[in-house]
Symmetry: C2
Subunit: 498 residues, 2 copies
């Protein structure tokens, strides 16, 4: 990418100083909430509130104009109403501010006067070196320096996913969901109206960003289709791009037109873009995070042969269907592997793939079966169902146990589930997690875990999905594995072409 753009976006995501134009004492104003978020998020750089009428805000001295700040400003965040923005942007340019985020709405997304205001603002920006995010954006997040320049009080987990979203509410909800699930982000930007910086610019920056291992996009329509395609095609062989394209149907495109005002391409066109660029498409909002978290955590499968280990027969059948539907293969095991499994499992086990653990409560056997299957040259990837995250199930069982204890107080004395038993299970769960990580390192094969969420409680393990991934259903695990394999096939085709 151009060195100038790269340098500018470094100022954006790793600013040494941030100014808030429109800083406020009122807790109901974005001029209070955004800097409060920045401070609460633990940002260590300098923060300068700008407001012509106040003395101190958030216990910091206030400057009447950005021009009065006796320091270089890497990032200015503007929260004042649209009609007052241009003069402030002009001051930023005159001050030599490196980058600027215009949070305010009321620009081209509302048409008419808003479009004129955006044009006026861009007339100031376009000949300056300052680059602008938005307008009409919920802001940015950056993990490396814990910068939360965001409207909603979201605290993302720092991680390896770089995310550009053409919707603030969808984007920040994904960050929240990621926090609940322990899925981390390196960068986030709500791209807003893209008056200056566009989707392609962020992708180009993320491609070279050492903090980011996978790029996630929510796109309604492209304002710079030609350049976006070039950048995506150049980036995909180096770093996976996962994309949800909304507005693919006529109804969706209409809704997008009134939301982001970006030109939504019809389904056929975007399918062509996907093929051309090697991006990985997510079909649903849930899949965005399902797939992105796997790209950031596990090796890619080198082929389509899958080994499945299941704690229950029915889930094995469902998984077999899901794998077949996505073009993956449940391979037969060689006799040698079957014999190794014979030594672990009871004589009536099904001697096949999926390996049905036939309900055994002896978790040490789960470990052995996983190692046998993962080590077999016959498979390229592994799905383990029910064992990992059993904590979640057993937490729920323990709660049930409590219910049971209460109900049975009049009937029997012994407790069905003791807290010692539960502690033991938690330990086993952690050990299984470590074993999965060890085997992935040794074999360089992805191991996908499926845990059945019997309670809403997030287990301690679920809250750390940076080295292992856990899915709430076999279908979602299988679909993710297919996405990883799709990318591996794309890489193979790319290598052939070279």
């Amino acid at each position: 990418m151009s060195e100038i753009l790269s340098e500018r976006l470094n100022y954006l995501f790793e600013p040494r100083s941030v100014a808030i134009i429109g800083a406020s004492k009122s807790m109901a104003k974005w001029g209070y909430i955004v800097p409060a978020n920045i401070l609460a998020g633990g940002y260590k750089g300098k923060l300068y509130p700008i407001n012509p009428k106040e003395e101190t805000i958030l216990e910091r001295p206030v400057f009447k104009s950005i021009k009065d700040v006796p320091d270089e400003i890497d990032l200015a965040v503007i929260t004042i109403p649209a009609e007052h923005v241009t003069p402030m942007v002009r001051e930023c340019v005159e001050k030599g501010v490196k980058t600027c985020i215009v949070i305010s709405g009321g620009f081209s997304e509302t048409g008419g006067e808003g479009t004129r205001l955006e044009q006026e603002m861009m007339d100031v920006v376009k000949d300056s070196p300052m680059r602008l995010v938005g307008p009409n954006t919920m802001g940015i997040y950056s993990g490396s320096n814990s910068l939360h320049a965001l409207m909603p009080p979201v605290r993302p987990v720092a991680g390896k996913i770089a995310f550009a979203a053409q919707s603030g509410n969808l984007g920040t909800q994904m960050l929240s969901l990621g926090r609940a699930l322990g899925v981390g982000f390196s960068r986030f930007v709500c791209i807003g109206n893209e008056a200056d910086l566009k989707a392609a610019d962020y992708v180009e920056y993320f491609a070279d960003d050492p903090a980011s291992e996978v790029i996630l996009l929510y796109i309604e329509g492209l304002r710079d289709a030609r350049r976006f395609i070039d950048v995506a095609a150049e980036t995909s062989p180096r770093k996976p791009i996962v994309v949800l394209k909304a507005g693919k149907t006529r109804a969706g495109a209409q809704a997008a037109a009134s939301h982001s005002a970006a030109l939504a391409a019809d389904e056929t066109i975007f399918d062509g873009v996907i093929r051309q660029t090697g991006m990985i498409e997510a079909d649903t909002t849930e899949e965005m995070l399902d797939i992105a978290k796997a790209f950031a955590a596990v090796p890619f499968p080198k082929g389509k042969r899958v080994g499945v280990i299941t704690w229950g027969g029915g889930w094995g059948v469902v998984t077999a269907d899901a794998l077949a539907q996505h073009g993956l293969e449940l391979v037969p095991f060689p006799e040698e592997t079957l014999r190794e499994l014979d030594a672990v499992l009871p004589p009536y086990w099904s001697r096949g793939n999926p390996v049905d653990l036939v309900g055994t409560l002896d978790l040490s056997k789960h470990f052995k079966c996983l190692e046998i299957v993962a080590s077999c040259d016959c498979v390229d990837s592994i799905i383990t169902l029910g064992t990992m995250g059993a904590t979640s199930s057993f937490q729920s069982f323990a709660m049930e146990g409590q219910v049971m204890d209460d109900a049975m107080r009049d009937h029997i004395k012994p407790k069905v589930i003791t807290s010692d038993f539960l502690k033991e299970l938690l330990k086993t769960d952690e050990a299984y997690r470590s074993e999965v990580i060890r085997l992935m390192k040794e074999t360089q094969k992805p191991i996908i875990a499926v845990s059945f969420p019997t309670s809403g409680a997030v287990t301690p393990m679920l809250a750390r999905q940076s080295e292992v991934v856990i899915y709430p259903s076999p279908e979602r695990g299988a679909k993710t594995l297919a996405a990883l394999y799709e990318y591996e096939q794309f890489l193979a085709r790319t290598r052939e072409r070279v």
Copy 2:
């Protein structure tokens, strides 16, 4: 259905007395766990432990043989090893026991000797009036009398879904998930090897069961395809049947063959069964509960016209796509409705469907928009995104608020989110829930809520999905609405034929 079968299955699901053959003092044996589950679950009928060697079990007097019990037995539960079952089944028949559940595995699902044992057992049962569940089953649940004759310590919520599953682990996990989500069941049976009672028998019973409003099935293969099709076709016009058919792919069918040993029909055949019978197919395990809970809670849409209200533009676009993909229609509103909405929303609102609430924090406006859209003759159903279950988001925000408070202690004094603010939000959430219920009653249109699970915590509201339904993504809400409409279309075709 035959009155005899109906009477027998009443004994099964509403027994006045239960005997446990193989009752045990050992907490590691099913002969202890199953009766412990029954007692803990609050069953009010009589419970008789049977064991030739013990005096008391679970503080109840033990009988050496079922023949010694001085009472009629409606249900006997057998947990002893397969090779000892037949003599006990014979005693049951001689005693005049009405129904019997054989929990024990090691029968036809293992082939060879197991198949012989099952045949031997059925030779005793087939000429008697006693009906048998299993063998190789995790048991049954019944909500009306709180009977938990189950192996896992699951405590389902009592509700309106009758569920027959050809997999114990999948079935009981669904009950657990239902508990976590507040989705209730009237009956559950793990159908096991179907040596006597088969899938069709349970469907026929559920069809006439006043406690059950929707029938949910997990099927790997049919052992009585002809009769099943007849029963399903006769039942569907009276009560919706939601089915997940596993083993539809070759790989899945192979896995099913070694799991349930039922003959899995190939995809084409089962698709024909679906069309012929009017059953509603769930494509994934998550969809089973998504769809079943809606059938048990909301009215069916009379047409395909949908009104969408969203708290954020991006979710609206995603919803528009999902509706179009499932053949539902995002209708334009008449000018009159637009004018009513104009009176509530700011001047720059998009004046269309979806109604974008443009981020307004004044929740009273959400109420008004919902009423305007639901009352409009132009729509047959409504999806409301983000408002209901905001509790969940705000619980998360509140937690974030705490994090924020902690982090900001050195910076600022005022708390960004106070507990009063949170209490107010919780009240609003409850009020919105009541409003949705009121509007569904008045308009007889389904209102589907989508709440974005930003934290793993189950909100109090999420835990009561018997009158309203809440989905974690727009796509899952839209898919469910399509399933409801599919059933309504089937009913319309059926009415035309009459």
